[in-house]
């Protein structure tokens, strides 16, 4: 796991956060991430993140489900063991629509959720470093990565000028590991 140094600033108002993100990017700082308690529309664009392709993955999982259902039922009921149900055709496509539909939805949903967890590295027992535990409550936490070119003092002042409070230089792990939170100091114990 890679430990890195970050300048961490806190914001309490989206109206201050948005211009701050713009300033930080314009000044050429390496914006690591902004941690927020809820999704803020437009923040991803402001940070220069590209759109997610998760929905494309969902579509691919969906058609996988469709073709699995149609393919399997066709094979089972026309080739492997064809049974005459009430004199109807073996290849009874209209009667297979419900199962095909359900499998399409099932594959798409399960596949997307697993992909989401994979991409965001989410799973039970996964542990990550916190920049500020208030970021799941009421604070927008901005982390700027320190590179060899970063003047820390200057960056702290820059963030403060952009409206951030309680700006600190901190070393954090950006990866994940297995562990639990039982012995961590949480927000109301600090």
């Amino acid at each position: 796991m890679a430990k890195k140094k970050f300048i961490v600033g806190n914001f309490t108002d989206e109206a201050v956060l948005f211009p701050a993100v713009k300033k930080v990017r314009r000044a050429g700082y390496k914006l690591h991430d902004v941690f927020t308690p809820f999704p803020i529309h437009g923040l991803d664009k402001e940070m220069g993140l590209r759109d997610t392709s998760l929905h494309t993955a969902g579509f691919i999982y969906g058609i996988t489900g469709t073709s699995t259902a149609v393919g399997f039922i066709t094979w089972a009921l026309t080739i492997d063991w064809a049974i005459n149900f009430g004199g109807k055709p073996y290849f009874a496509l209209p009667a297979w629509i419900p199962v095909t539909f359900e499998l399409t939805v099932l594959f798409a949903a399960v596949g997307m959720v697993l992909t989401f967890c994979w991409l965001c590295q989410l799973a039970p027992f996964v542990k990550k470093d916190h920049f500020n535990p208030r970021s799941t409550d009421d604070t927008f936490v901005m982390a700027i990565e320190c590179t060899s070119a970063t003047n820390e003092e200057e960056a702290v002042k820059f963030l403060q000028a952009a409206g951030a409070t309680d700006v600190k230089v901190e070393t954090k792990d950006t990866g994940w590991w297995l562990g639990n939170y039982a012995n961590d100091k949480m927000r109301f114990e600090q």
């Binding site: 419900p98 997307m112 959720v113 970021s135 639990n180 927000r187």
Partner: protein, 483 residues
């Protein structure tokens, strides 16, 4: 910010009181972090007792066979399948609220979606019990799945509505669970970061999956929610459609009806919303969440109830008309003699259904009634009773008199174990709901924060400025800083 943030003053606030983000967290986490009340323990104990009685009833049935139930020839589907359809129907409101209302951008869903989705999952769990234990030799239940077997392999019949049901219900349960839990992850992280006790840190730490609130993760989360909503919308409609196919594709008079799919879906939404009202009217009071689940929410849901109740009413009348107009003797007999005729053995059940589902919800045309909590609670119970009788009417009155009058004599009443099984599912449902309301945030915290500055009472007041703007001024204020 963007234009979308602005909400007209005409709309009532969705969050009452003076709230900021932190206050929202505090309010919704409070019931989770406090010790359970006496009332909670009493309710929980009753639920567990019912659940145990249900387990005993099922054990009796498994040990001695389905003969423990009063099913007979011709009533092969009695209370058991009635209860199945009833619970599945109730399990429709949650996904309707979370999925369809998300696509329609209905802001009010944020106050109630979490609890409604939980209710959906518990209701589907209860529903699933009935067809499974009805199999009798339940140890062979896995025969319904298409797996390579030594009997050929002999595959399941993919042309059968009963098999479609297996796929529909299991898919619905899985997708609802995923949708619900993916929404819960960020709120679990909120609870984790506030936890003081060791077990809480461990439990919510595991449950939060290591969520940090990164902007990229939120972006994917939003995309996931939207696509899951898009998938769940046809899914929720398909599930009760397929349940209705269990009946509609048969040739039994009273079941052989093409109107069943939309009629069942409307009925499912109707009964699901009634159950949501039953639970939330109590929950908001007991957990002091009246500022989040406001009278506005209650009123909107009552509007859905009067709408869907009336659709159901139209469906009842349509099938009645069609039974007469079809000029099929058997079809008309099923309706005229087995249902409409009050002095027939089960005529009373038809009129209970009509009274509870069609007549009584009409009271919600009056605003005063829609906003009255006692009326709402009472009506929600009445609708649930009515919708149980709808399934009973469809199932039992259609089959207790078949084409052979000599088999008409037996009057079907359930045994104690059939009733016990039903009560047991109430035990299961409420045990789960009590645990949920104690250990999980009953309102989606992140979603409330998301709409707070648009629909919160103390923020709406500040929007007055916009209300007075001309269109050009509004554009100037809002369009430029939107990217």
């Amino acid at each position: 910010m963007s234009l979308l943030r602005y909400e007209s003053q005409v709309r009532a606030p969705l969050v009452d009181g003076t709230k900021d983000y932190h206050q929202v967290t505090e309010d919704i986490c409070r019931p989770v972090e406090n010790k359970p009340s006496r009332l909670w323990w009493i309710g929980f104990s009753i639920s567990v007792a019912l659940l145990l009685f249900g387990i005993l009833s099922v054990a009796m049935e498994v040990t001695y066979g389905t003969g423990q139930w009063n099913l007979n020839r011709t009533i092969g589907w009695g209370w058991d399948i009635t209860n199945f359809v009833w619970w599945v129907g109730i399990g429709h409101a949650g996904t309707l609220i979370s999925a369809i209302l998300l696509l329609f951008r209905q802001g009010w869903r944020t106050g109630v979606n979490r609890a409604a989705e939980a209710m959906t999952i518990f209701a589907v769990m209860c529903a699933g019990q009935f067809p499974i234990w009805h199999m009798g030799r339940v140890w062979n239940a896995f025969f319904v799945l298409p797996y390579p077997n030594t009997r050929g392999p002999l595959w399941v019949n993919f042309n059968s509505p009963l098999l479609w049901d297996v796929f529909a219900i299991s898919t619905y349960f899985t997708v609802s669970l995923l949708f619900w839990y993916s929404g819960l992850i960020p709120d679990m992280a909120t609870l984790r970061d506030r936890a003081k006790l060791k077990w809480r840190k461990t439990f919510y730490g595991v449950a939060a999956f290591g969520w940090t609130g990164s902007t990229k993760h939120w972006q994917r989360h939003e995309s996931l929610s939207l696509v899951l909503a898009g998938l769940s919308t046809p899914l929720v409609l398909s599930v009760h459609t397929i349940v209705s196919f269990d009946f509609a594709t048969s040739v039994v008079p009273g079941w052989h009806t093409t109107i069943f799919p939309p009629y069942f879906v409307a009925g499912a939404i109707f009964s699901g919303f009634a159950m949501v009202q039953t639970l939330l009217v109590v929950t908001r009071k007991v957990l002091s969440l009246e500022e989040y689940i406001t009278l506005e929410h209650v009123e909107v849901m009552n509007k859905v109830i009067v709408l869907t109740g009336s659709i159901v009413g139209i469906a009842y009348l349509t099938e009645l008309f069609m039974a007469w107009y079809s000029a099929v003797d058997y079809e008309w007999f099923a309706f005229k003699e087995n249902r409409l005729n009050l002095s027939s053995p089960y005529g009373w059940s038809y009129w209970i259904m009509m009274g509870c589902n069609v007549l009584s919800p009409q009271i919600f045309w009056f605003r005063k009634m829609r906003r009255n909590l006692f009326v709402t609670f009472f009506m929600s119970i009445l609708v649930n009773i009515g919708m149980w009788f709808e399934r009973f009417v469809i199932i039992v009155t259609s089959i207790y008199r078949d084409y052979l009058p000599s088999s008409w004599s037996t009057y079907y009443t359930p045994t104690i174990w059939e009733v016990g099984f039903y009560l047991g599912t109430f035990g299961l449902f409420f045990t789960c709901y009590f645990l949920f309301s104690k250990y999980f945030p009953v309102i989606a915290i992140a979603e409330i924060k998301h709409i707070l500055k648009r629909s919160g009472e103390n923020y709406k007041g500040k929007m007055n400025k916009e209300e007075e703007d001309t269109v050009t001024q509004f554009d100037e204020h809002h369009l430029h800083d939107h990217h």
